[in-house]
Amino acid sequence: MGEGIFLQVKGITKSFGGVMAVKDMSFEIARGEILGVIGPNGSGKTTLVNLITGFVKPDSGEVFFKHKKITGLPPHKIADLGVTRTFQIMRPYHSLPAFKNLIVPLNSPRIRRTRGGKLGDKDGVAIDILEEIGFERDAYVPYKIASSLPLGYLKRLELARCLALKPEVVICDEIFSGLSMSEISTMVPLIEKLQMEGMTIMMIEHRLRELFRLVNRVMVMNFGEKLAEGVPEEVMENKEVREAYLGTEAALC
């Protein structure tokens, strides 16, 4: 990680009404790193994702991607630079085959540029992407209508939509939630493979055990603030983190 800081967040703050959703957060992600973000419900994790990807404008603070300021840019410009995200709530095209769901990112200016204006066989590219992410072509899964797919495939479809954009940073907002253990165990190697290919990943997650197997570092949020940051083992030893997750000793009794 000699290239240093890839994505940098500096003192970002956002309040909704009187509620401080994210309060003076600062952190960095190095190229090729997986950063996990955990925290109790309502601790501002998704707002943080929205702030980085431009869906919500911060009250103050800045985000830099490759030393370029990206705060204030509209979401599609940030995605165009290579920072993309999945959504917690997936709304694929229910009436279309799975691979047609990737036509939108495959028509983006970012992909047009990388392919020199020629897009060629988009359906073929879409099916290749889906196959790589675990849609078995032999079983015709990429051709199945999206509404007939189980949740595990829909989560992967959401990830595939991001990957179709050939991004440099992927922010996964709870892609494990709602999945069974076996579904997660097929997702984990996918994420590992992405990292091997040099992708920088930020993962918001509730499933700590699976997350800790994957991440290089983990950051804990509570009430919109950073509580702790470091390697997983270290962080879970932290007394404040244990309290935030499990409650104080008194509450436990």
């Binding site: 599609h76 995605a79 279309l96 939108v104």
Partner: protein
């Protein structure tokens, strides 16, 4: 026993006909029967429209021209509402800007309709798009209200500044050589617009537009500017309306503030509801039914609007999915009642 029978519920079960499934994709070419299945509805529509002038009297031929203009507007309305998620009540603005542009070009520069119509179509669409551009970030009812205001606003600007002939309008414009040109120009326009749009919505751009309607956040996260695609969609719908307007100015040889009238914003909606939202062909058929109907009801005098409204209410209450959706279902599917 009687209680039991009364609680038995029935529902309609629908199954796709085998031939419908067989005619999807390349398999349609397997036999004549399959090809006929696909061709018959399309041929009926095209020839129905193209042959209708031969069966009509002069007066009804005029009505047909008028219906064609409404059909273009309804087509644009359906496209924007169902495929992009923009409820645009600015049909009158499209008609007005197309009509005034071609009227001005004809009156001031003396250009023939052959030139003024294409120029007014494109230039009018550019103006309409630019005017609506700031409102494109609005959704649903907000966009509807704003687009509804523009025609009203323009009328008052024309009256207040007394420009473009003020309340008198611009008269003595060039007209088409005969009633056949009148009719086939608009009928050709409608048919081309209909099939072009049907093609467009299945292309990638149509897919992107539909995903903007369903889930604009995912489109933004896919690195696509939704404003640029909405702009393109509004431009396409405006092209249809402005062509209608430019044609209208030469149909009667006159333009005036009545071309910004609410009829042009409202009747297309009625035609779309009646014809079937989202089918594209439905609104066209709706327009070709409603416009003559509204003429035929002139005999009722003041009661005309009441009868007209009753028909519309009847449709909304009993067949809310619209004429075309019902017909397509009957054509493509078996239906039978099943006890639950």
């Amino acid at each position: 026993m009687s209680r039991e029978t009364s609680t038995i519920q029935r529902r309609k079960e629908r199954l796709d006909r085998g031939i419908k499934v067989r005619t999807e994709g390349l398999y349609a070419l397997t036999s004549w029967r399959e090809m006929f299945y696909l061709l018959v509805p399309r041929t009926l529509l095209i020839f129905g429209l193209l042959l209708s002038p031969f069966f009509l009297e002069m007066y009804w031929q005029r009505v047909l021209c008028q219906a064609g203009i409404y059909a273009l507007l309804a087509l644009g309305f359906d496209f924007l509402a169902e495929y992009v998620g923009l409820v645009c009540l600015g049909g009158a603005f499209f008609i007005g800007s197309g009509a005034y542009l071609s009227g001005l070009l004809n009156a001031k520069l003396g250009w023939a309709p052959f030139f003024t119509i294409p120029i007014a179509t494109v230039a009018g669409a550019v103006i309409s798009t630019l005017v609506l551009l700031p409102c494109l970030r609005l959704r649903g009812i907000y966009f509807a209200i704003i687009s509804f205001m523009f025609p009203l606003l323009t009328v008052y600007i024309i009256i207040a500044l007394n420009i473009f002939g003020g309340t008198e309008g611009i008269t003595a414009l060039a007209t088409f050589p005969n009633i056949w040109v009148d009719q086939y120009l608009i009928l050709g326009g409608v048919i081309i617009a209909l099939f072009a749009l049907r093609r467009l919505v299945t292309e990638d751009i149509g897919l992107i537009l539909r995903s903007i309607k369903d889930n604009d956040q995912a489109v933004k996260a896919s690195g696509i500017s939704i404003t640029s695609y909405k702009t393109k969609a509004v431009f396409i719908a405006a092209l249809l309306g402005c062509f209608g307007g430019a044609y209208l100015s030469h149909l009667y040889g006159w333009v005036g503030i009545s071309q910004f009238a609410l009829d042009y914003s409202i009747l297309p909606i009625a035609a779309t509801v009646m014809g079937g939202m989202g089918t594209l062909v439905g609104p066209v058929i709706g327009a070709f039914i409603l416009t003559p109907l509204s003429e035929a009801l002139r005999g009722f005098g003041q009661m005309r609007v009441v009868v007209y409204c009753l028909i519309l209410i009847g449709f909304i209450v009993y067949k809310p999915e619209g004429l075309m959706n019902v017909l397509q279902r009957k054509y493509h599917q078996f239906e039978h009642w099943e006890e639950v």
